[in-house]
Assembly symmetry: C2
Homo-oligomer: 335 residues x 2
């Protein structure tokens, strides 16, 4: 059976060209199992397909969605007024069972607001969450929340843990994922009001493999597979991480300049760095799933390249294949 992914053709800084290109790359990578449904203004998307001689390509469908939500538009307004946008119609296709997943590199706030409105939350999930991937020396860990929920209650962190575990089990195929609570110290009893209370809840949850508190410094050394925190902290942490990498490269350049290292050697060292940087590259992951809504949704980076779009679409297909949404629902309603 095909995995039908509805794709926001107008989502992203370089949409629709890059999205169309990425959709074709995704189909090349997984031709048999994938069906891509492009949502966007028909004439515009058709023109992009024609440019690439891809009109009528097998596995590629086009659905007209005349309204366009800009990257910087207010989500609240856009979601209420642009009811025929690619975001609305793509999500509605999922809600109606005409698509299995929705993927967008568009306006994150609008995608989330529309997903909540159109798909709704899974029963008992108070706060759906966009997750982040954090590179570690042993691979990567899942961090949630990373910005969707900037003011959290302890029970939200418990729910994040539960959702994150399902994702890591199903998609990364990790058995009994280790859960850590991001905190300022390892000992129980450390932390702010939120983490102290969340610790108790996590500790008492029989379904979780809870390791306890995890400090910022342990994260990259893979202290846990799933790290939970409120979205404010998670967002700051991920952004600092991203910027450290670019700053690090800039500082290394400065250092090489200062030491008078020649251009050839500079290129060699930077080439070496590129291998390391790839681990920090969101393009490898394509997009972050929005967990906790009643449907498979992946949100990509606004500056996604075609390659990142292709990965985002494949990530959405994988959510479906691994039955992540139903597994989360079950984790909240143990049989």
């Amino acid at each position: 059976m095909a995995l039908r992914v509805a794709v926001d053709a107008m989502g992203g800084d370089a949409a629709p060209a890059v999205v169309v290109e990425g959709a074709l790359q995704a189909l090349d990578a997984a031709p048999e199992r994938l069906e891509v449904q492009l949502y966007g203004p028909r004439a515009i998307v058709e023109a992009e397909l024609e440019k690439r001689r891809a009109l009528g390509r097998e596995g590629l469908l086009l659905s007209d969605a005349p309204d366009v939500i800009g990257m910087a538009e207010s989500p609240a307004t856009a979601v209420k007024t642009k009811l025929r946008s690619s975001i609305h119609l793509g999500l509605q296709a999922v809600a109606r069972g005409e698509a299995d997943a929705f993927a967008s590199a568009g306006n994150t706030g609008a995608v989330m607001a529309a997903a909540l409105f159109i798909l709704g939350r899974l029963p008992e999930v108070a706060r759906p969450s966009v997750v982040g991937f954090f590179p570690t020396t042993r691979g990567r860990c899942l961090v949630l929340d990373i910005g969707t929920n900037v003011d959290c209650k302890p029970e939200h962190l418990l729910q994040f843990a539960r959702m994150g575990v399902v994702f890591v089990e199903r998609v990364w195929q990790v058995e009994r994922p280790v859960v850590g609570l991001l905190n300022v110290g390892e000992e129980p009893g450390k932390g702010n009001a939120l983490t102290k209370a969340a610790y108790e809840l996590l500790q008492a949850a029989p379904d979780l493999n809870f390791r306890g508190n995890v400090e910022g410094r342990d994260l990259m050394h893979h202290a846990a597979d799933v790290v939970v925190c409120d979205g404010f902290v998670g967002n700051v942490m991920l952004k600092v991480g991203e910027s450290m990498v670019t700053a690090f490269v800039e500082m290394l350049r400065q250092e090489m300049q200062a030491r008078g290292i020649d251009a050839v050697q500079q290129r060699q060292v930077l080439g070496l760095l590129r291998g390391v940087l790839r681990r920090f590259d969101y393009e490898e992951y394509g997009g972050a799933p929005l967990l906790g809504v009643n449907g498979a949704v992946v949100i990509g980076h606004g500056s996604s390249s075609a390659r990142a779009i292709a990965r985002m679409i494949l990530a959405a297909a994988e959510l479906v294949e691994q039955d992540v949404v139903r597994s989360i629902a079950e984790a909240f309603h143990p049989a």
Copy 2:
């Protein structure tokens, strides 16, 4: 006039040997202006001095403090029961005007609790704060709070800004330091309940050069000289930053191994990195000032080397020389 720094000879993982060694290095670096007062059990500290033939060295005093507070001891209990510790007696010397500053690489919680108890807060300072230094591509910025205050109110962030500005003005000699509020987005109105309210306060403060919100990714690109946040976020961020650097080096090693790069070249690349890593090295800074108490206090890293101890002592002397404590008091009571 000499700058008299009371030093906790028993503070740090490798105390007292490393502290005594560091004190001597500090005196070597600033022989004329510095007086170091070592606080610790007399016999133990004397033995260390004797080993180094430094007993009776000019500028070096020894005061008996028989109680020892362990690095892992509960601050609350230690502060109440070990009244003749190096931490208590050193801080009391400052309170009595027998020393100008106190420096310790010991139990951070105990130093802070004792400093609050013995020196007290400056008038109107609700929350004294340990500050952190964050390397940027243009130097470094000051981040506060970094763990002293894990649950903050908006007015605390305003006070952090005020104290941080004084430090950066006086010690780093930056004119009209730019203040940023660490947040999840740049636009006003972004953030959690705390940062939204803090934004309003910072914006309305006529004495501050407030730039607005600063995202995690802008920090390393020197978006501000003084970045304020609650201590939970600051602590996580600094620790992630530290660990990213070590993880980065480990990943680079892995990459070189994988590419079969020979040992000589590996050493060359790692040598290059060392120049960059130095910017992230706390030893360069020595210790973090505790701002907002009625006295000059610097807290060093528990794992401080002799070199870091020396820098910590010199940093304490600089707080005195730049009259930071009085300047903070004045910032809270404009003439």
